[in-house]
């Protein structure tokens, strides 16, 4: 028993830690999937908006004295509002064009946001502490000691992801949204303001990214490049899950986090590449992704 336990222990440890990474993948890919599903725009600025969330949390703390809990509410609101402005001023003009242009525009936006933050705050990053409430001794899981804050990440991300999924798939508002994607003219004819709904959706997707940014601030380095490191992996997650599939991106996010964790047990060097390998395999076997409709 004890020997088997010793062999299993690393897997349990890494799997648990992988779940934390998976939580970030899930929220970020969920935001991308919502925006893509509803607006047909690949939001390349998603990583930059994630980074903005973390920076706004820092600004709230250092300039306005608003701590972590306040930031968790206000940072997504502020960044989401910024997303709304961008959608109104720029993205809304592109809906009739090939989605390529949406991708290029948001790519340009990402460059601008990152460059400006670098000019304003330098490149090495800013400090952000783990909030007071979580500075308690780590939780003993039997096979490892897990900092309380990491538990919080997993719990809150599950809550947010399932909430979003529920809002889109099970509520009336969600059904309008889905209908507007399929037949915008018809839905408009029923008296629903479709452009406004699109704007709100983009804002919500961006707010999700910013929310993940605030969650990440106490554990990851808060620097202008923090989103760029994530975005490409998250793209792969979305492709694996099936683009536009809400549930697909959530489930794939967590699963990939755990797989990445397992890889770290027996072949740590490959843990960053494993996502792309899985993507290649999935595309060969199921080109629409795991949860995508053909």
């Amino acid at each position: 028993m004890s020997e088997l336990w010793y062999d299993l222990e690393p897997f349990l440890q890494q799997g648990t830690l992988g779940l934390v990474n998976g939580a970030f993948y899930a929220i970020l890919s969920l935001g991308l999937a919502v925006i893509f599903g509803m607006l047909n725009v690949v939001n390349f600025a998603h990583g930059a908006q994630f980074m903005l969330g973390a920076f706004v949390a820092w600004m709230l703390l250092n300039w306005a004295g608003i701590g972590y809990w306040g930031a968790l509410v206000f940072a997504p609101l502020i960044v989401g509002l910024f997303g709304v402005v961008i959608e109104r001023m720029m993205i809304a003009r592109l809906y009739k064009l090939d989605h390529l242009y949406g991708l290029l525009l948001t790519f340009g936006l990402a460059l601008i946001i990152e460059g400006l933050m670098r000019n304003a705050f330098g490149s090495s990053g800013l400090p952000y502490e783990v909030p007071e409430a979580f500075r308690i001794p780590p939780v003993d899981l039997g096979y490892m000691l897990m900092p309380a804050y990491r538990f919080w990440i997993v719990v809150v991300s599950l809550f947010v992801c399932l909430g979003t999924w529920y809002a889109i798939e099970k509520t009336k508002l969600g059904s309008y949204l889905r209908a507007a994607v399929e037949r915008p003219k018809l839905v408009q004819a029923f008296g629903i303001n479709v452009p406004q709904m699109m704007t709100a959706t983009y804002g919500a997707g961006v707010a999700l990214a910013a929310f993940a940014g605030v969650l990440a601030a106490p554990v990851y380095s808060v620097n202008p490049a923090m989103g760029a490191n994530f975005i490409i992996i998250v793209f792969a997650v979305v492709v694996i899950g099936g683009m536009g599939s809400i549930l697909g991106s959530i489930v794939t996010g967590y699963i990939l986090g755990v797989i990445e964790g397992f890889t770290r047990v027996f072949y740590p060097e490959a843990s960053a590449t494993v996502v792309f390998v899985i993507m290649a395999i999935v595309l060969l076997v199921r080109p629409t992704g795991l949860f995508g409709r053909a």
Binding site: P10, Q13, Q14, L17, G18, V20, N21, G115, R118, F121, G122, S123, S124, G125, L126, P127, Y128, E129, V130, P137, P138, M144, L145, P147, Y149, R150, P218, V219, Y220, S221, V222, N223, A225, M226, N229, F230, I233, G261, R264, P268, E269, A270, S271, A272, T273
Partner: protein
Amino acid sequence: MRITRRTLLTGTAAAGALPLVTPLRHARAQAANTIRIGVLNDQSGLYRDLTGPGSTQAVRLAVQESGITTRGVNVEVAEADHQNKPDVGSTVVRQWLDRDGFDVIVDVPTSSVALAVNTLVRERNKVFLCSGAATSDLTGSACSPNTIHWTYDTWMLARGTGGAMVAAGGRTWFFITADYAFGHALERDVSNFVRAAGGEVLGSVRTPFPGTTDFSSFLVQAQRSRAQVIGLANAGGDTINSIKQAAEFGITRRGQRLAGLLIFISDVHALGLQTAQGLVLTATFYWDLNENTREFTRRLGRMPNDVRPSMIHAGCYSAVLHYLKAVEAMGVQAAKASGAAVVERMKAMPTDDICFGKGTIRQDGRKIHPAYLFEVKSPQESRAPWDYYKLLQTIPADQAFRPLNEGGCPLVRT
């Protein structure tokens, strides 16, 4: 042709691009008594805070303090951003040297760019004063009669942290190593020092580079090893993330110590003392080390993003100051004629400045000065902004850098 608003816009854009091209055409007249200094570094990327505009500021201070301009010599300082791209850096340096008659290139972080500049400067017989890059190849297999490697290098960092840590009681080690040549080399060098000093390496884990944000799994493996010291053979954002997450997992609180192998004061600032406290690192300069270094910081004045000078900034100052002394000693004409001759002269003269104190330059182009093992203070110990380090140990100049005969530099005659 129908003129629309679109065409006008395009025309304006094209016309706007033209004047950008024209300056490339004029070869400036070679002024016989003008020394041109080009500061090439990262102004927009990862290394902006520790090199960047601060280096130019330090170079300008050196020019001003040398007083050479009051004695009839013109000195021009230009700066450029290589964006950490070797081809951009290479184009800038070729233009500076081939067309604009620059005499000396300063700073150049990012080893790929520094090695490219090293070759270009040597071919054109100019001077390269390298402060920003870490690779010890610059005074080893790639050493050049036209290059002086001023501030620090990987060997010195490994020696300082690896050797001195064992003496300070960190006998067993575990490495978290970024999985690329730089990380491997750093791990290998430090391991050698640890073993030489009687320590033991218990193991290591390779982290994918780039693309690792979460180091917790690797930290947990390090924790399992029960090593006294966790060596971070990585750089930049990787180091910051590993330290931040180590604090989160309470690794230092449970008695293991973290040793940063390539970490600068701007990184410590980014982490905050709460997170970085207890971290051990090696540097050749710290702004608050003594009266002289504080004086340097005062003279430098306010810096971009309000940072304090890094050792790289100090190196740029010190190197240019010494360079201008050599130029004055041999005359501007002779100095412009041969970069190797200037470097030869610089090697012959002892160095002395407020940043590094007295020092020398070795035959292989290595500037020699003491190094310091620092520990990052706790928030309670820190009494002022940027009051971050306490000195653990001074590594004397003659032990701080790789011995002359071990580098494999072809310039060294045995």
